[in-house]
Each structure stands twice: as C-alpha cells, then as structure tokens.
C-alpha cells in the first residue's frame, strides 16, 4: 500500500521517497490509534522497501512533531484495570512500541525526521529511530518521564546513548528539562537546522540527495554505522515495566491528567 490516510497519520510514496505525516490533534500524542497506524505503516513498507531510498517523518499538527505518549489514554486505561491486567496491558503496549521503533530504526532506507515545535518523550523516541533529524529552529526536545516517576519506555535511553555523550543524556533525563534546537544541534542530536516552517522542505532536499546513491552501499553503510542496541532496549522494557507497576506512577499520572494548571507537564 503506497498511500494511506488514517485517523492519526497518512503516508504517500513517490519516486523512491515515502512521506509519513503524523496528524492527530492536539499534538500527535502516541496512543493505541497512532501506534496501530504506525504498525500498519511498518508492515506496508515491506512491500516497497526495495524501491525506497528515503522516508521522511513529519507532523501536520501546528503544535509540533509529537508531545509523546497519550498520558490521558494511558491513565484512564490503566485505572480501569486490576493490577495484574494493568501491568500486562502496559507491557504489551511498550512491546508494540519497541517493535515499531526497531523496524523504523533498522529500515533499509534512509529515515529523516523533520521536526518542528514539541518533540517530547515518545515523540523524541520516534525521532531518535531516524537516521537524520532535521529541526525547525523553534523545535524543543525533552524527556519528561522522570517527572512522572518513569523512564522513557519506547527506546529513548539506548538510542540517545548510541548517538550522544552521556553527560548530555544525564542532563536531559535527570532534569527533565527541554532544550531548544540550537542546543540539540550543538550536542549532535539534531543533524541540520532549518528556518521556521522550513524543516519539511529541508528534509525533502536531503531525501532527494540520498536517492542518488547506490542502494547496496547505502544499506551497508547504515547497518555498519547504526546498529540497533537490542540488549539495552530489552533492559529498558524491564525497567520501565517495573517502575510503572508502582502506585506512585499512577498517582503522578492522575495528578497530570487532572491538572488544570497552565503548565501541567511540570510536577
């Protein structure tokens, strides 16, 4: 399926480049709908990967690339279940997120995230699966999970560690602060900076460049440069599920989803 338009995203393949556009209000929160359609995308790429040189992931939502996991859905889904089913449900969701992330990470074409606005939590984890992150200069990046008593659960830490110095990784994780695009570029998280509203345009120019190269060389180079950190990713799933099972996490989520503060993402 070379084109698709769903409830949370759409994609279109054209001349060796597939563009995946996230488009779910208000800010591409990753819940079961978005995840389900990402799974459909990953499955569909198998049918055209041999004729695909690049994939661009971007957002049509004004607020940004993605604000991360859909915490409202997560909380209300979790409280409706008994403890055992709740923990099993969270594990299943996290495993599905990992399967999608691992598939995009190892895709045999060049993946480019065109980021604007917020790129937080699960949104940043999705961007980190890509080979190249191109950011609008107004983009912001954060891993706010520790503010909820969790760690990133969709592969964030292993992928951040793969690419960046541990000092910055600790700063981002242990403070939960957000950083701007210039800082993200300075530490190597962002490959290229784009002017305001120009990230997708820059990503398309980058995709056009990579389509010129020999496919076998491109695939071999990517595999050599960017191994998927499977062992650490498995560890992450276990740590996340262990932390999530604590009552303090549900309490923190409750506080977040019921907050009417202007800045509810801050604990």
């Amino acid at each position: 399926m070379k084109s698709f338009s769903g409830k949370a995203l759409r994609w279109e393949w054209r001349e060796g480049v597939v563009e995946l556009t996230l488009d779910r209000e208000p800010a591409n929160e990753i819940g079961t709908v978005l995840l389900g359609e990402l799974e459909q995308f990953v499955a569909a790429t198998k049918s055209f990967e041999s004729e695909t040189a690049a994939c661009i992931i971007s957002s049509a939502q004004k607020r940004g690339f993605s604000a991360g996991a859909d915490l409202r859905e997560l909380y209300y889904g979790a409280v409706a279940l008994a403890e055992k089913e709740r923990n099993a449900g969270v594990r299943d969701f996290v495993e599905r997120c990992h399967a999608v992330a691992n598939a995009i990470d190892a895709a045999p074409f060049v993946t480019i995230a065109a980021v604007h606005g917020v790129c937080f939590g699960g949104g940043l984890e999705l961007a980190l699966t890509c080979d190249i992150i191109i950011a609008d200069k107004m983009a912001r990046f954060a891993f706010p999970e520790l503010r909820l008593g969790l760690i990133p659960g969709f592969g964030g830490i292993p992928r951040l560690k793969r690419d960046l110095g541990n000092g910055f990784v600790r700063d981002l994780l242990l403070t939960g602060r957000s950083v701007n695009a210039a800082r993200a570029q300075a530490v190597g998280l962002v490959a290229q900076l784009a002017g305001e509203g120009e990230a997708l345009k820059v990503a398309r120019a980058t995709a056009a460049q990579v389509t010129k190269f020999d496919q076998a060389a491109r695939v071999a180079a990517k595999k050599f440069i960017k191994p998927v950190p499977h062992a650490e990713l498995r560890q992450e799933v276990e740590i996340f599920c262990e932390l999530f099972a604590r009552a303090t996490v549900l309490a923190a989520l409750k506080k977040f989803v019921e907050s009417t503060d202007a800045m509810p993402y801050l604990p």
């Binding site: 604000a67 917020v118 602060r177 701007n180 210039a182 800082r183 202007a262 800045m263």
Partner: protein, 82 residues
C-alpha cells in the same frame, strides 16, 4: 559589551510575546500574567521560551521558569542567564 538593564530585558520580553502571539504591545504590562493575558497554554508557553532563548542567545531550563507567570519575573530569570 553592552549589558541590558532589567527594564530593557522586560521590554524585549513583552515585545517578543506581543509579536509572537500577535497581541498589541501597548496592551501588555510587565506585571501581567501572560498565561491569562495572552490566553496561552503550556505548549504555547514553550514556543515563547524558544523565542526568548533564540533572541537572547541563552538557555533557560524549564525548572527555572516553573511557576513564573508575569513578564517582569520572566525577565529577571533571563537577566540571570545573560
């Protein structure tokens, strides 16, 4: 190097907010609660944070502006990073 006074920084913050959210600068005062006055939410406040960081060439960690809701106090936080 020219150092900004707190008043100058405050005025620049007000001007940037006015421009970014398309609100007449004359309608904003340093002591205004910008969440209420601009009618913005947390994600829009982050847009303002990016705008301010890019303009002043600084980084302002979220926790330093946690609980800050008026232009003058925001300018004080920026001033300590200049």
């Amino acid at each position: 190097m020219h150092m900004r006074t707190l008043d100058q920084t405050t005025q620049e913050v007000v001007d940037l907010a006015s421009k970014h959210f398309n609100v007449p600068a004359g309608s904003l005062a340093p002591s205004d609660d910008f969440f209420k006055k601009l009618g913005i939410d947390s994600l829009q406040a982050l847009e303002l944070l990016s705008r301010l960081e890019n303009h002043f060439g600084i980084e302002l960690p979220d926790y330093e502006v946690q609980g800050v809701s008026d232009f003058r106090t925001l300018a004080e936080r920026i001033q300590s990073r200049l």
